[in-house]
């Protein structure tokens, strides 16, 4: 049993955060000046956008239940 596609995208956020933090660490250790506020804005936007995307995908993939028309006894 594997996770569904949207669940996979959601859990990928953890890996994305770790990757971003690692990259940021490498950049700062290499002597690059990092705008922390800008980095925080980008990180929050990316994470929020990612989760929003997965939420939208979840709602889109949820198919509505078929409507059942009650039948009369005469039928």
């Amino acid at each position: 049993m594997r996770r569904r596609f949207v669940q996979r995208l959601t859990s990928a956020v953890v890996g994305g955060v770790v990757t971003a933090m690692g990259g940021l660490a490498i950049a700062t250790l290499s002597g690059r000046e990092v705008d922390v506020e800008l980095a925080a804005i980008i990180a929050l936007t990316a994470t929020g956008g990612w989760l929003l995307l997965t939420a939208l995908l979840t709602s889109l993939r949820r198919t509505p239940a078929p409507s059942v028309t009650p039948t009369s006894p005469e039928d």
């Binding site: 049993m1 594997r2 996770r3 569904r4 669940q7 996979r8 995208l9 959601t10 859990s11 990928a12 953890v14 890996g15 994305g16 955060v17 770790v18 990757t19 971003a20 933090m21 690692g22 990259g23 940021l24 660490a25 490498i26 700062t28 250790l29 290499s30 002597g31 990092v34």
Partner: protein, 469 residues
């Protein structure tokens, strides 16, 4: 779906073991009900327990906060829900996770302020290599130990060892799953008399997501799970392939760091460089694990734990670089490869500078080669590019690296009786200036000057790098 009573769901052994403790978070708590639950478990009044915790927090600072965060994350509530476990199952309790995260950050931040727990001087600006190593060990060793214990528990539980004790265990249920409650009112009353934390089994048990087997003494046979399918589908962990890939990435990262150090391209300690490289690759592997539909498992735990030291590294990157520059021997500094030193081969330096400067004064002796005497105990870096007016700089570090545009006026004064040693690696020239209290070096084009004052024995080495305008 109806689950027979006392049926333990299939879960990691760690959570089974925690449930076996019989400690559940209370429902009247302030932050997650940890103190309330533990107090009930040990038969202590909640108010008294809170006072004890507050006093302990005052004296132990971060340790108590970290323990509280861990208890909040790992202890089940009355319905058997564990915050961390539900997070792994894709049912995050966002509010609780934020609270746990804040407590964790506050706990780590308070570690150094404790009266009894002192690992070093934060921030790392005053830390030497040994102290940084100690701090890293103080963070990484517990993580490794906890990870090893978790791995051991999971491994043992997956072997299906018989004799697992379900007494006091509160099992969680997935949304939509219904369970029956075998607890009779009498049995519940007995449990309440015993002062067990989960004596509210009747309250919790009638809920749609709990089966309390704490009253196992009167229930049928909670320890014998009938053979039937697991209550929810089992999602595989990362698997051997991803674990092996992680190990391989660790080795490759180590090789890359050693190679960089060999080439003199490292600006921080190799261990820190390796960790940052490894964590970045681990994050990429976690993305692949997620996209393959697997649980992050232990790799996810390691990745999340790695965020803590990564945050510290990012916040103290400049200090780490400075510390490395101060303590690393000059042999690792990227100077031009030295030629065999010939101390008696005195050269005429003026010829090398007359093309770039209108006035050249050398009151000292020079020799070919980028030789630096002694071991550098501290370093400073100065850029003189774009100099608009005279700038007086008193040297305070053992070795001062000066980068200037070719043609920038430089003078070196030795007023305090300290000889100066100046090296031009690009010109393959080293000069010693005597301690006679005068201006011993003048390279001038008539523009703004960088005046370097050598006044201390422990700060008298200057390495000048000229760049094209």
């Amino acid at each position: 779906m109806t689950t027979p009573p006392g049926t333990p769901p299939h879960e990691a052994g760690l959570f089974s073991a925690i449930r076996g403790w019989g400690i559940t978070r209370g429902e009247r708590g302030v932050f997650g009900g940890v103190v309330d639950g533990v107090a009930h478990r040990v038969g202590l009044a909640t108010a008294a327990a809170r006072v004890i915790v507050v006093i302990a927090a005052i004296f132990l600072n971060g340790v108590v906060l970290l323990a509280y965060a861990a208890a909040w994350a790992f202890l089940p509530d009355k319905r058997g829900a564990i915050i961390i476990q539900n997070f792994g199952r894709g049912m995050p309790n966002v509010g609780a996770l934020i609270g746990i995260g804040l407590l964790t950050l506050m706990g780590f931040g308070g570690l150094d302020n404790g009266l009894t727990y002192h690992v070093g001087d934060f921030p790392l600006s005053h830390a030497g290599p040994w102290r940084i190593l100690i701090i890293l060990f103080a963070v990484s060793v517990p993580v490794v130990i906890v990870g090893g214990v978790i791995w051991l528990i999971v491994a043992l539980s997956r072997r299906g060892r018989p004799g697992h004790d379900n007494t006091h265990t509160v099992w969680a249920a997935m949304p939509g799953q219904t369970t029956t409650t075998p607890v009779s009112p009498a049995a519940d009353a007995n449990a309440a008399d015993a002062g067990v934390a989960d004596t509210n089994a009747a309250d919790a048990g009638v809920a749609d997501a709990a089966t309390d087997t704490s009253s196992a003494t009167t229930s049928a046979s909670p320890t014998t799970a009938p053979a039937h399918p697991s209550p929810w589908p089992r999602i595989p962990g990362p698997g051997g392939g991803f674990y092996l890939a992680t190990f391989a990435w660790g080795l490759l990262a180590a090789a890359a760091v050693v190679m960089a150090r060999r080439n003199g391209e490292l600006a921080v300690y190799p261990g820190i460089a390796w960790f940052a490289t490894f964590a970045t690759g681990l994050g990429v592997l976690l993305i692949f694990v997620s996209l393959s539909g697997r649980k992050l498992g232990f790799l996810g735990f390691v990745g999340i734990m790695a965020l803590i030291p990564l945050t510290g590294i990012i916040a103290n990157a400049d200090d780490l670089r400075d510390s490395y520059a101060r303590h690393e021997p000059l042999s690792a500094v990227d100077l031009r490869p030295e030629r065999p030193h010939r101390p008696h081969d005195v050269v005429e330096p003026a010829r090398q500078f007359t093309g770039d400067y209108s006035r050249v004064v050398f009151n000292g002796s020079c020799s070919p080669g980028a030789q630096v005497h002694g071991e550098s105990t501290s370093s400073a870096y100065i850029s003189g590019q774009g100099l608009s007016q005279d700038e007086l700089i008193e040297l305070t570090s053992k070795t001062t690296y000066v980068t200037v545009t070719t043609g920038t006026s430089i003078t070196v004064d030795t007023p305090g009786g300290t000889p100066a040693h100046v090296v031009w690696p690009d010109r393959n020239l080293s000069c010693d200036f005597p301690a006679d209290g005068t201006t011993n070096l003048i390279l001038s084009n008539g523009g703004p000057r960088m005046i370097l004052v050598v006044d201390r024995d422990e700060a008298n080495v200057i390495v000048v790098t000229e760049v094209a305008p």
